[in-house]
Amino acid sequence: MKKFIIKNILFLIVLGAIISGSEYLVPYYWGTPHLVLKMNYYKKHKDEFNTLFIGSSHIFRDISPSVFDEFTNTNTHSFNLGVGAMCTLETYAFYENFLKKDISPNVKYVIMELAPIYRLPPKDEDSAGDLNFPSTTVQSARVKYYLNFPVFMFVVNYFKTGMDIYPNEEEEVIKEYTSAYIEKLFKVGMLKDMVMFNFQPAESSESQKEILGRYNDGFYSMDELTSKSVSDCVECRIKTAEEIDMNIKDAKAAYMQNQTLEANRVQLEMINKLIEQSRKKGIYLIFHLPPMSDYKLMLPIFDRIDVRHKLDLANPMEYPEFYEMDVHWDTLHFNLKGAKLFTKKLAEKFNRLVLKNSDDKKNTTS
């Protein structure tokens, strides 16, 4: 009996080690299928691009590289690596791996979305439609791809700072992430996708167009994706208008520094670390605060980021045009008209930032 139990325990330990270590035996997996597709395209054409956009659908659907390149003064050739529902943790983990893999020979600029870190979505949620794998038994499948130990410790420390983001629920949130981390450790619901992605047939050209965009620059606006928009439905219009108004109110209050939270120092440290890591690779990392953000949470952090590494296009007092109904596909996303407008303004602001930075450098060296 003892022999039976000991052998079983040993068997399970070895099995756990094999499964846990399996990720080192397969090529690195970039995570969600859309990101894999974009990264595969980028890697094939990496010599062409010197500017990248990274973040969620605020990037994917709202920033047009072709428009950006048209209005910048620095001869950018950009690619949009934004992916729907890409949360902040995923963005940071993705970017760190991106830097480690050394696949950015010509990249000079990276513009990254600044966003809060939220709790995990419910276990049955597929997270923004058809972007993800079926959920596993315990936690949302997507989170496990990037939840390695450093990222796990980062998120634990982030919530331990006692932010008001989830009052009295920090322990619950940490438990959720811990559970997801254990699942990631033993590749629960992950192993097949990790190994098989290398053998997947290529996406159809139609599917590729929806991810890589019309011009293979990674941008595909919401109204190109679907024929419906907020303007098609009266209730949607009213709801969106109300939400935008609310957002403007929040933004104004936040910008006037009346109603903000403290800056989360853990996130701030991570941002500074990414800036430094980028600098060592010769990349100029810029964080941008998109419109319709969670201003209360993000402004305190945004304010504390080095002025050379941030772009603010979220202030409704400075950019009221981004809060007009006719540029919105829904509350959170621009339509094609809005994306073009936004990107143009982003490019203009980018130009001023880069110019100022280069002037400051000249002044410093002289």
Binding site: M1, F4, F11, L15, I18, K192
Partner: protein, 476 residues
């Protein structure tokens, strides 16, 4: 909790530890633990019908006691009849009430009469088809004086509720399972290890073979109007493989689990796809059910009607297989499935002599392979009725299958799946003389190689397995 679930993976070790470390010194306590664990297991599914299981068990136990005190043949018959009436009555109510009402109404409307009979919203208690037969086999064996009636209520209730077999068999006999519950079990290392192997193989069959076939089968059968004949043929074949993987996989897990507790269950599947005749097939497929009906239905009818000569055999076969069909579910498709089996078996009886002569002429390798192919083909064909929602659908499916598009490339062809199935069949072929395909204790390989095989199978299950499909036989 499904056998291939995390809950079950936690449940079994807990019961295992309590069984061997806490209760092993006391047989009664050990059996009580089995009862508690089994009722917990059943209640996890649906606690509402736990009382039905307990009631059925109580009826079986009480009738057994009454039979032990009764020598009058007529009264003994009445006691048995009472047990059958209650058990089959309950089974009939929960499983067949709506079917019979609807069939009754349809039959009358066929003749132009409209009846206003009401169907009821009846939920089928899980496992009822299995434990009812298990309890009945006790009553019948006691009636026939093949088995001594028991006064050990704890052992009896452990017999009727033993969790590995409770929901989907094998349908055990008192001579096997109950007898083992009378005696103290000793932990046998080799038996336990082989039980683990059998569980692993069962998991592989269910999660990799059956569940991957299911994705294609469901698509083909749900959209058969859109597919070519060759695709529909593929669908029928894949369904046969699916149901084998599903049910035999479950049986392997049940038998393997029981062996961890020192209990040997009866074999339920003996590599049926290698059968060279339909008669042989039914000696290898769902053995616990076919042998149950053979012992308690076929044989008594044959003996009772022996003055009919060979017709008694055909009649018994027909009745037995109609019951087999009906046992599977309350639908005419299952009855047709059963009738087809019965007819094919009758044909088997009629052609036995001529096939024997043919076997002497044709080289064995050709004869055997063609026989296996014919048997498998027939079974796959009959499974169309098993899978279809109604007779009309089955007939439409068959007519589309036999259309001109039969000779065309299948519209759905997964090379990975076909390769996987072929490898699976090859492994089962090599191990066809064993109790299960992973019985390798007699093969002299180093432990590291054995563990390598286990890990490989586990990784295949993780990589290619699916947890999305329920066990088909849970519906019965």
């Amino acid at each position: 909790m499904l056998f291939n679930s995390i809950e079950f993976a936690i449940f079994v070790p807990i019961v295992f530890i309590l069984y061997w470390f806490v209760t092993s010194h006391n047989l009664k306590l050990q059996n009580v633990l089995l009862i508690v664990a089994s009722y917990f297991y059943y209640a996890w599914w649906d606690w509402r019908f736990l009382s039905l299981l307990i009631f059925n068990s109580f009826v079986g136990y009480t009738i057994g006691i009454a039979l032990s005190k009764q020598d009058d043949p007529k009264k003994r018959k009445w006691l048995l009849f009472t047990n059958i009436l209650i058990s089959i009555g309950l089974l009939g109510y929960f499983k067949y009430y709506n079917f019979f009402v609807e069939s009754f109404v349809d039959a009358f409307s066929f003749f132009g009469y409209k009846l206003n009979a009401r169907t009821l919203n009846i939920i089928l208690p899980i496992g009822i088809s299995f434990y009812t037969f298990q309890i009945l086999s006790y009553a019948i064996d006691v009636y026939r004086r093949k088995f001594e009636p028991t006064r050990d209520i704890i052992s009896f209730f452990a017999y009727t509720s033993f969790f590995p077999v409770l929901l989907a068999g094998p349908i055990e006999r008192p001579g096997n399972l109950l007898s083992q519950l009378y005696v103290k079990r000793k932990f046998d290392y080799d038996k336990a290890v082989d039980g683990m192997r059998q569980i692993l193989w069962g998991l592989f069959k269910k999660m990799v073979i059956a569940d991957n076939c299911a994705r294609y089968v469901n698509d083909i059968f749900n959209n058969y109007g859109d597919y070519s004949g060759s695709t529909l043929l593929l669908g029928a074949i894949l369904f046969a493989v699916q149901i084998y993987g599903d049910f035999s996989g479950y049986s392997d897990m049940a038998i393997g689990t029981a062996r961890l507790f020192g209990i040997n269950l009866m074999r339920n599947f003996a590599f049926p796809f290698f059968s060279k005749s339909i008669a042989e097939f039914w000696r290898r497929w769902h053995i616990s059910l076919s042998s149950w009906l053979f012992d308690y239905l076929y044989t008594p009818i044959t003996i009772n009607r022996r003055n009919w000569g060979i017709m008694s055999v055909h009649f018994s076969l027909f009745v037995t297989f109609v019951v087999i069909g009906l046992w599977h579910g309350a639908n005419w498709t299952f009855i047709v499935f059963g009738i087809l089996q019965g007819l094919w078996l009758s044909l088997d009886v009629i052609t036995r002599k001529s096939r024997k002569r043919l076997k002497k002429i044709v080289p064995a390798i050709i004869y055997d392979n063609i026989s296996m192919l014919i048997t498998f083909s027939f079974f796959s064909f009959s499974m169309i009725f098993f899978k279809a929602n109604n007779i009309q659908t089955a007939i439409h499916y068959i007519s589309r299958l036999s259309s001109a598009s039969f000779i065309s490339k299948s519209q759905i062809l997964s090379a990975k799946l076909i390769l996987g199935i072929l490898i699976f069949i090859f492994i089962e072929w090599i191990q066809r003389d064993k109790q299960h395909a992973l019985q390798i204790e007699n093969i002299k390989v180093p432990s590291i190689v054995r563990w390598g095989i286990y890990y490989s199978i586990i990784l295949v299950i993780i990589m290619f397995g699916s947890t999305q499909q329920e066990f088909i036989y849970f519906r019965f």
